[in-house]
């Protein structure tokens, strides 16, 4: 029971990094960026391939982050310079990444068309194994601690970044592009930077996930944006009154962990894991409908009061 809970929390923390990336595109830039689905796999594929090539796993995560940024930049260029509608731009990058991810994983095996990579023979090649020896803890506890450290670090960096001049310009771009241009902000650039960082985070999440679960699979990203959205919506529902940006971001972490814990228990109780995506979609739909109804009730209430 406790193991199940711990495992859920740990996975939730790793997925929370993805949720933060999705928050950046969906909430801050106000774009549903479907690059996410290919990008988490990109991060996983790059990290797995590099472990096969016996590259330091920390460096592997950093390279995965950069690969994710690159994917985001491509989506950004499609959107801004080539004027492709945002949703379509994301889909195009996502679908391209499917082929690219297979190429990346094929680099490791040398066999073309490699759709998954197992790290079974490379257990000591991940971040978690040597760290777990060092701390004298089991793998889940090690991952839990590492997850907390990484997530806190990312929130701190995001808090700082979105307070800077460039960060403020990116936030403003998501709200009002016309105003941004009138204030001398190049909205093409701010969008590309935002999408790069968003997808960098998503790929980082993929890289850590791959090292934690011990494999990378070309289909692991399917539905990941919905999982990210579910985490955001659950987090926002719990931290409804939050004004501070760092608290809002922490809410997403809580949302992601809660979601993953629930999923872990639901699967343990016997629901086939293939039904998971349906369940996630229903959670998001219900949450979206409830929040929009709540908004309506609030407005009505305000009118009656006035």
């Amino acid at each position: 029971m406790l193991n199940l809970l711990l495992s859920g929390v740990t996975q939730g923390l790793i997925w929370a990094i993805l949720a933060l990336g999705v928050y950046l595109s969906y909430r801050i830039l106000d774009v549903a960026d479907l690059t996410c689905e290919g990008c988490i796999t990109l991060g996983a594929s790059v990290a797995a391939m590099l472990i096969w090539k016996e590259v330091n796993p920390v460096l592997g995560v950093v390279i995965a982050f950069l690969a994710g940024c690159l994917a985001g930049i491509i989506t950004g260029i499609l959107q801004t310079k080539l004027k492709i509608p945002p949703i379509l731009a994301g889909i195009l990058t996502m679908i391209s990444l499917y082929s690219i991810n297979i190429h990346i994983m094929s680099l490791a095996t040398g066999a073309s068309g490699t759709a998954n990579l197992s790290l079974l023979n490379f257990k000591n090649g991940t971040i978690f194994a040597p760290l777990s020896d060092l701390l004298g803890l089991n793998k889940t506890m090690t991952a839990l601690i590492l997850g907390i450290v990484i997530v806190v670090l990312i929130i701190a960096v995001m808090y700082w970044f979105f307070g800077t001049e460039i960060g403020s310009a990116i936030r403003a771009t998501g709200t009002n592009e016309k105003m941004c241009r009138a204030q001398g902000i190049n909205t093409d650039t701010t969008k590309i930077i935002g999408l790069a960082l968003s997808n960098g985070l998503i790929a980082t999440s993929g890289a850590l996930l791959c090292q934690y679960q011990g494999y990378s699979d070309v289909n692991m990203g399917v539905g990941s944006i919905v999982i990210g959205l579910a985490s955001i919506i659950i987090g926002e529902a719990i931290f409804m009154k939050a004004k501070n940006f760092a608290v809002k971001l922490s809410g997403i972490i809580v949302g992601s962990v809660l979601y993953r814990v629930v999923v872990t228990f639901v699967i343990a109780s016997g629901m086939p894991s293939t039904d998971l995506k349906l369940m996630t979609a229903v959670i998001v739909i219900v949450a979206l409908v409830l929040t929009s109804f709540a908004g309506k009730f609030k407005k009505k209430g305000a009118k009656t009061n006035a």
Binding site: F161, G163, T164, E165, I166, G167, S168, A169, R171, A172, G174, T175, N176, K178, M179, C180, R181, A182, Q183, G184, I185, N186, T187
Partner: protein, 263 residues
Amino acid sequence: MLELIDVKKTFNPGTINAKKALCGVDLHLNPGDFVTIIGGNGAGKSTTLNAIAGVWKIDSGKIKIDGIDVSKLPEHKRAKYLGRVFQDPMTGTAATMEIQENLAIAARRGDHRTLRWGITAKERKEYRELLAMLDLGLEDRMTSKVGLLSGGQRQALTLLMATLKQPKILLLDEHTAALDPKTAAKVLEISDMLIAENNLTAMMVTHNMRDAIAHGNRLIMMNAGKVIFDVSGEEKKKLTVDDLIQKFSQNSGDMLSDRALLS
């Protein structure tokens, strides 16, 4: 300060919807000129302002600001020289951001944005004083989201943002049209104050002939994408609404739109 030389623009060229919006606009503004622009719907008033701001590229002609040819610069680069206030109060500000954050973004217009903190303690103090000048109580709501403000408050804030970093030209595009008469008067009063205080060169598009006469030192009338009437100084001061209506019919051979007549 501003030179428009034979500026032309056609929207949707080569299609059935082709519209000649600007048909050779020539205009020369001296430093300190405050020009009001009137004309019927589709006369090219807002289009002229958008051409100056670089919302799209002009087809031919030249636009110079303080001697610099900006005809080919994209909108965000021209922003360095321009302060802008729009007709829709929603357009000029970022609703989900705080009042002080909006001001901080405007204070960096034309500057290279860096990884330095987006707003400093010194700025906060300055903004408080400037907001107090507007006399709308906004100085005590600096951390409120702009989305909570009324249309008039948002326009006043946008005006302050447009002039926070002294622009070479202030472009006011029917910025009081969406406001109730009382609020509109207040926003106009703030406009006058900021223009006088900073000694700005300004252009104001309006549908209200009385406002066009009462404000600024110069008035131009546009019709069918051209400047058809241009008065300044004493001659402008003596103008009446009747003069303008007469001028309009005689120059355009056309009746004024209902909207222009009613305002």
